[in-house]
């Protein structure tokens, strides 16, 4: 895969002849440890080699600079640098030749000598036109195509591979979702492609002539195949790896604020990291493994340090791994595990080279890095705010707080306190160490002290210190003692003044103190998930919705750290779920981004139960909704949860990407799709991206969609938005509970206005056709922005359900809001049918009064009267008959309403109808 040139030196005719014909000279070379240069096979024309030829290829190290300067046995000066030999020539330009590789030979008695394989001979005269020019190293898909094209002198080989891939895809319309069978299938395809390639006579001959060409052909075939196949196989790979990926993403997200120093990365490497990160993040854009591996290599090569003389010194293993870990965390790629699996398992051409080659090394290093992150050995930066403080509050701080605690208990009363204890840092350390009582004690004491000081200030102003002393009797002793320590209560000698001013100047942290980053104790407790302390702090009056410099509230921190208990405590104490931080992230964003499903659940359920609103479709600065994040990082459970709670997968972020676009594997895509199929249908009409993506993924589905689209187009309701679908669901639910007010609320109809207008219109309508301002206003206000004729996926409108549940009042409201009384659902039923079926006479009356078609039929040909007769609803039948239905109407089974009633033996109804028939016939 590296494409490093290789040939078997001992088979090289130049070398063979040298050894055979001039063994004395050869032996002399060995004993003098001179370097033998061998032009690569094919670079020298096959002719008789002379002694001059050999002498020109023996390098004798110079005495002064044995590393870089040599002279040949033909007395020519040669310099070596950067793997290039430069031969000084008497006239013209110096001759350059690449050292392709070095091979160290050992004789039987283990005498060492070196052989350099050169690209071109070290002789100016023999510079032939390059009979067999091969690229040394394939480094991109273009190189591969170029090789196959030129070597085979035409497109045939490429076409063959394309054909094979197409046949493969036809044969396997849905690729297996497990790595092993997928790998086997692709491996088989690779063999086929290679066989097809080698059927080309030119290529076959060339590959036989040189092992190097053979290796390159293998790589090229594999690359081209991968390029064609990538779109089809990468999604299944991502799907198989979805669990690992989301697990890894969660780990990475939770340490996204990690700093270089947290990983003990040497300072002199810092400068190279941004560049390496930039290179590495492009790995996603490459389709072939060759290019991906090359990308890894470039990224790692970009990390180097310079020694004093500005030479580039490459990384050692000790430095490499931490930097690589850092790069991976910061790369922002959501599917590292899939990338790794692809690179590791779908490399076929390199297999023959054993397990030790450079690509394997790079891939193994990637594996090690992933493993390291996944193992949790790096628990992120030890403390989120260690970044701020540069302190390392691990064990040592714990033990020191332990010590401090003991000193604290000793010195509860003395006013001369250790200044360290009075700092906010100390309080923060206490919180981190989870010393609830200590925190409480310190803060309470400080609080009291503050109050006392205020008191003292007042009294001091009044110069009535005696009283002050009395007042202080019941309060903290520290202040009492302070005053007792003064020479005299009224004394103002230097010493006493100092004492008093010290007391006044003493800055002691309280519950709402902030550090330089705006963090309060409540923030710290939330970051560390110390629920008990959160509770105490809240009790002590800590401000809940306070925000730090990044505008993060404690709720943000507890959500992003996944501390459910702290989060719930904060919520119950009135934390604001809608507050956004500097990047306009809500707490929900934070919890989703870091993959804390427990916190996501807590937020959503709390909102549900507390009748609070949580905006699951909230956008941050980049227009990213929580669902975008869940889709991108592959958090299946969270995505499901969000969808269930009304998240809209069709929303676009700033880059115009929907959650569908960000989903990397089929599982997530499935969650996004399957949750609400009807929703999906409409998305496809509106979102071109989604359609595109879907066509790419699975063809049968997209076909189905085409059909769906046509159907929905027929129904002429294409403009439905997902938002409205969710809304109608809620409305219908409210109606099913009989909650007219709620339904009105959802529909944006002012129920009160309706009531008023009803009374108003009853009492003082100027005139039925009046258009005076008050009448007009009333009617206008009844009308909402919501289209009441909007239906759900079954075509059920609000009026359908209102009729079904007999909510005559709502029916009136809906009709006032221009509801279509003859609207049909998927079964072709009008609201009238439903009212008849459910025996809602009042509703029937209302509908019929407002122009409902009494003879409307549903898909099975039934009129409302058929339905009423069928079920035996006497009231409904009576009402319907009052509106002159057509009794001769026959349904799909060729029955009139009377037949239906007779069939079901509803005697009263038969009687009613017969009476009516008689009446009408008499009338006629």
């Amino acid at each position: 895969m590296e494409g490093g040139y290789d040939e078997i030196i001992s088979d090289n005719p130049f070398f063979v002849e040298f050894k055979k014909e001039y063994s004395d000279l050869f032996q002399h070379c060995i004993s003098e440890s001179w370097i033998v240069c061998v032009p690569r096979i094919g670079s020298l024309n096959t002719r008789v080699f002379t002694i001059e030829d050999f002498c020109a290829h023996i390098l004798v190290p110079s005495d002064e600079l044995p590393e870089t300067h040599y002279s040949t046995l033909t007395e020519k000066q040669v310099t070596v640098g950067n793997k290039v030999i430069t031969l000084e020539v008497t006239k013209g330009l110096p001759l350059h030749s690449h050292i392709l590789f070095e091979e160290t030979f050992y004789t039987e008695d283990f005498i060492k000598y070196k052989v350099w394989c050169l690209e071109t001979p070290l002789e100016p005269s023999t510079n032939n036109g390059g009979v067999d020019v091969t690229k040394d190293c394939l480094s991109s898909i273009n190189d591969c195509i170029d090789l196959l094209w030129t070597q085979a002198a035409g497109r045939q080989v490429l076409d063959q591979i394309e054909l094979n891939v197409q046949l493969f895809l036809k044969k396997n319309p849905s690729l297996p979702l497990a790595i092993a069978p997928l790998k086997d299938a692709v491996s088989e395809l690779y063999t086929q492609c290679l066989q097809a390639t080698l059927q080309n006579r030119r290529l076959r001959e060339k590959s036989k002539s040189s092992k190097h060409i053979m290796e390159n052909i293998k790589v090229a075939v594999e690359c081209y195949m991968q390029q064609l196949l990538f779109d089809y196989i990468f999604k299944p790979i991502c799907t198989s790896c979805s669990y690992e990926d989301s697990h890894l993403n969660k780990k990475i997200r939770n340490m996204s604020d990690i700093q270089l120093r947290d990983l003990d990365i040497k300072k002199d490497l810092y400068h190279a990291v941004p560049r390496a990160k930039q290179i590495l993040s492009k790995i996603d854009s490459y389709n072939t493994i060759l290019e991906k591996v090359l990308c890894l290599k470039q990224a790692l090569n970009a990390i180097h340090k310079k020694d004093t003389s500005n030479n580039i010194v490459f990384l050692t293993a000790d430095d490499l791994l931490p930097v690589f870990v850092f790069l991976l965390i910061k790369s922002g790629l959501p599917n590292w595990y899939s990338q790794f699996t692809y690179m590791k398992e779908f490399r076929f051409s390199g297999v023959g080279k054993g397990d030790g080659d450079e690509s394997t090394f790079l891939i193994t290093t990637l594996e090690a890095v992933i493993e390291h992150i996944q193992s949790g050995a790096l628990a992120g930066p030890p403390d989120p705010e260690s970044y701020y403080y540069d302190s390392n509050p691990s064990e040592d701080s714990l033990s020191s707080t332990e010590q401090r605690r003991s000193s604290l208990t000793e010195s509860v009363s003395p006013p001369e306190m250790n200044p360290r204890e009075e700092t906010l840092d100390y309080v923060f350390d206490l919180i981190k160490a989870n010393h609830t009582e200590q925190v409480q004690m310190v803060l309470e004491r400080n609080h009291k002290h503050l109050i006392n000081m205020e008191d003292n200030e007042k009294t001091a102003m009044n110069l009535v210190l005696n009283e002050a002393l009395d007042n202080d009797d019941d309060s903290d002793t520290s202040d009492l003692e302070l005053y007792q320590k003064l020479c005299h209560p009224l004394c103002n000698c230097k010493k006493c003044c100092q004492k008093i001013s010290k007391n006044l100047l003493k800055i002691s942290p309280t519950v709402n103190s902030r550090d330089s980053h705006g963090l309060t104790p409540l923030h710290i407790a939330s970051i560390h998930g110390k629920a008990a302390i959160v509770e105490v702090l809240i009790e002590m009056g800590a401000e809940i919705n306070t925000s730090d410099l990044n505008e993060c509230t404690p709720l943000h921190y507890s959500a992003s750290r996944g501390h459910q208990n702290a989060l719930l405590l904060l919520l119950h104490s009135g934390a604001d779920m809608k507050k956004t931080n500097i990047d306009k992230n809500t707490p929900l964003h934070m919890a989703v981004n870091n993959g804390h499903i427990n916190c996501v659940k807590a937020l959503i359920y709390f909102a549900e139960h507390g009748r609070k609103q949580i905006d699951v479709n909230a956008c941050n600065e980049g227009g990213t909704t929580p669902l975008h994040m869940a889709a991108k990082w592959g958090y299946e459970g969270i995505a499901k949860l969000l969808i269930e709670n009304g998240a809209d997968p069709s929303l676009q972020n700033r880059n115009g990407k929907t959650a569908f676009d960000l989903a990397h594997n089929l599982k997530i895509l499935h969650v996004l799709k399957s949750s609400t199929p009807n929703m999906y249908e409409y998305i496809h009409i509106t979102s071109y991206d989604v359609k595109k993506l879907n066509v790419k993924v699975d063809h049968p589905f997209s076909q189905m969609l085409q059909n769906l689209k046509i159907r929905s187009g027929d129904r002429n309701k294409a403009c439905k938005t997902v938002e409205n679908l969710k809304r109608i669901e809620r409305i219908l639910q409210a109606i099913s509970y009989g909650d007219v007010k709620l339904a009105c609320f959802y529909m944006n109809i002012d129920y009160e206005v309706y009531l008023n207008s009803k009374n108003y219109s009853k009492e003082s309508q100027c005139h039925p056709l009046c258009e005076c301002i008050c009448c007009k206003k009333n009617t206008l206000r009844c009308i909402s922005d919501f289209d009441v004729n909007f239906c759900d996926s079954n075509g059920v409108t609000a009026l359908h359900d209102a009729a079904r549940y007999g909510l005559d009042e709502l029916c009136n409201i809906l009709i006032l809001n221009k509801a279509n009384v003859n609207i049909t659902n998927r079964k072709g039923q009008t609201p009238l049918h439903l009212a008849a079926l459910n025996n809602k006479s009042v509703v029937l009356q209302c509908l019929l009064n407002n122009g409902a078609n009494i003879n409307a039929i549903d898909l099975s040909g039934n009129t409302a009267l058929h339905d009423a007769c069928d079920v035996g609803n006497i009231g409904a039948t009576k009402t319907l008959i009052g509106f002159n239905p057509d009794l001769t109407m026959l349904n799909a089974s060729e029955k009139s309403p009377l037949d239906v009633a007779k069939e079901k033996v509803h005697l009263t109804i038969i009687d009613l109808i017969e009476k009516y028939v008689n009446k009408t016939s008499i009338y006629k």
Binding site: V80, I179, K211, F314, A317, G354, E358
Partner: protein
């Protein structure tokens, strides 16, 4: 070349040992012998390919350096799986590093059995006066676990060349024994042949840890 019977052995060798014992120095020393380190256009100092030809046998040695920090210890198996040889380096002035070597030996024996060729290197032998690991103890231990013991000094370029040469010879010998014992079983070491287009699915993929 169809007429040629010569083939190339590919061997993978890992360098293991505590941080600061000089693993990387040994590797660099071995490379430096090749070209001046300025000319290192290959990868980092973490991976090296060395072509050797011992007595007509062609060997391609891939040497992998590993991170020595304790926190990366758990990643060892990822690096040493499928290795043919391991060089365990300790610092003769550091008792702990020798204990670490013992741990590595135990782990390697457990994970890879006796298939792997072990070499123990006591590095920094130029600091003889500061020695804290007893010469006898180290050599006795090496003998006990069937490993060769070397004293190396990357600083003075002592013993490095020998160490790699002997290791390579041992690897070849071991390989040839195996090949004789079981001609078909070449799972660990693959011979590259000219005509071997069909990719056997031998890189048994599952992620072992």
């Amino acid at each position: 070349m169809a007429t040629s019977l010569s083939s190339t052995h590919n061997f993978k060798v890992v360098l293991l040992g505590e941080g600061c014992v000089g693993k990387t120095s040994i590797l660099l020393r071995y490379i430096e012998d090749k070209f001046n380190d300025k000319h290192l256009t290959t990868l980092q100092a973490t991976f090296l390919n060395k072509k050797l030809n011992i007595n007509g046998k062609r060997i391609n040695l891939s040497i992998w350096d590993t991170a020595g920090q304790e926190k990366f210890h758990a990643l060892g198996p990822i690096y040493y799986r499928n290795s043919n040889g391991a060089i365990l380096v300790y610092d003769i002035t550091d008792e702990d590093s020798f204990i670490k070597v013992k741990n590595w030996v135990k782990e390697l024996k457990k994970m890879l059995g006796s298939e792997i060729v072990l070499v123990i290197a006591g590095n920094k032998c130029d600091l003889e006066h500061e020695r804290s690991v007893e010469r006898i103890e180290a050599e006795r231990y090496a003998g006990m676990v069937g490993a060769k013991h070397y004293y190396t000094s990357a600083k003075l370029n002592q013993g490095v060349e020998e160490l790699f040469l002997d290791l390579t010879r041992e690897l070849v010998e071991r390989f040839e024994q195996n090949a004789q014992a079981d001609v078909t079983r070449t799972s660990r070491v693959l011979v590259v042949e000219d005509e071997a287009p069909a990719p056997s699915s031998c890189c048994s993929g599952s992620r072992s840890s």
